[in-house]
Symmetry: C3
Subunit: 220 residues, 3 copies
């Protein structure tokens, strides 16, 4: 072999030694820096950093993966929280007629035409019907004012079932009266709530006296 060939071989051998040393440091299971040798003392300040680098890089990549999943999970939870209880349902309407409403010779749905608040547009002032847009617990309260010449008799219905009632007897001696009631009702989406006025009863109608109010307390 020529001197050149020997020199090249020697380079290869040195690089191989160097690489073996480097790989030995990388795959060394202990975190202890490899013992210093005469050759290592020259390369220790730099290549051991690179060996640890490879180790640490793997660990960092794993940690980044874990954090990415946790971040995604947090983003989903934030979205859930933002969407929770965002439906607003709040209404007040008064009967709005000019004077007495009724008496009629049959039960009728009392239509509160003078809307004061109708957030969520869940109440129709044309039919007097409230329709639940989402499942949840709702609060309803009715108040009436009525002259004494006829009975006042209001029923609050959920679908086909009476829930609460507000009524008074007529009296020659008591020329006006008031009454009311309130109820919390668990409703499904689409359930309807409305007020029926009994046959032969009446209420006082203007924009301020006989009212129907409600709101969505909580979705569930």
């Amino acid at each position: 072999m020529t001197p050149d060939g020997v020199a090249t071989q020697k380079i290869n051998f040195s690089i191989l030694l160097f690489v073996s040393l480097l790989c030995g440091l990388i795959f060394d299971q202990d975190d202890v820096i490899a013992p210093e040798t005469e050759r290592n003392s020259e390369i220790q300040s730099c290549f051991p950093d690179m060996c640890n680098l490879l180790k640490e890089f793997g660990a960092m990549r794993d940690k980044l993966g874990v954090m990415e999943n946790k971040l995604k999970d947090s983003e989903n939870q934030i979205l859930e929280l933002k969407n929770k209880d965002t439906t607003k349902v709040i209404l007040t309407a008064a009967v709005g007629s000019k004077g007495a409403m009724g008496p009629f010779n049959t039960d009728t749905t009392l239509i509160y035409r003078a809307v004061k608040t109708n957030i969520g547009n869940t109440y129709s002032p044309y039919t007097g019907i409230f329709t639940a847009p989402v499942a949840g617990v709702y609060y309803f309260t009715i108040f009436y004012h009525a002259g004494g010449s006829h009975q006042a008799k209001l029923y609050l219905y959920k679908n086909n079932e009476m829930m609460v009632r507000a009524q008074d007897h007529w009296s020659v001696f008591d020329t006006a009266d008031n009454g009311g009631n309130a109820v919390f009702l668990q409703l499904q989406q689409g359930d309807q709530v409305y007020v029926r006025m009994a046959a032969n009863s009446h209420v006082w109608g203007y924009d301020y006296d006989t009212t129907f109010s409600g709101f969505l307390v909580t979705q569930m």
Copy 2:
């Protein structure tokens, strides 16, 4: 050239070859590990890891940047959620006088002096005025008890506009009566709500009978 010079040149050349090989591996667009050569077989276990390292490092840095932005966005959304609906406004007060309040020969603001709850300090028991601290929808309800010798007539006002009313006629025969009403009102910050007692009407005053209550249902 001397043998030393030739050897040095050979070292440079070998390092250059080695570096070219390394750079070739780094900038190789395919993710396929470069074909094994006799020289590579010695260095493959270590330097290809480092070449991929450079590639992956760039990718990881980009990913970290993306995650940093997403994390910042999440932090902002959490702050929004924490600040949402944190204003609490809840009040109940009773008239608190010893016996009848009124009748007066003019309309007056009914001052409910006996405060039972005033979360948010939005109601003044000195003036009887509630002031909305934030825009939103509020619920108000009034109840009165009154002796029969005079009419009872209460109006709930928002600023200069009557919203609902509770009233009864006087009657020799009915020595006491009750009434009330409720309303949900959308208010702007600074809007004022209060109860006016009509001239020549009265209510019963103690700490328990004639009340004014309200709360902020939702900010909007």
Copy 3:
């Protein structure tokens, strides 16, 4: 020394020089790429990337640590938000007797047996007692219907303290009457709220007329 020995020494020296150069680049406080030398021009395309790599790697590791803490903090805040205001308390019950309840010759707790809603199971239809499961502000409202032959007189109590009252006088001439009241109360966990019916008074009992309702407005 033999030519081989000299060559090996020259390799070591070259590697040492190379390493020193590399470490010099790494620990160079400026971000300026080290001036090009004849040797550098061969290695610049690759190893300077690796030197910057070590610098950047340290910075990235620090950044990852900061982000990990921020992510943990966000996760805790999300958990707080999810747990906030999750207690639901909503109730309505009617007296439910068939006809008049009372009069009795002593004050009694009015037991509303016909439960319509009892979210949170905080109201007992056996005792008529509501018990606050958490500290907060609660809303209560009562309505009664009563015949005119006896007085109607209801007191709403918090523990041993009357909060509001609803009453009417009896009247031969007024054969029925209505009344009610409402109050927002700040309660501690375990506080009890209930309705007392005064001695010698009565209310009308069915499932629809005389009611007791309440809900938790906000925990605090």
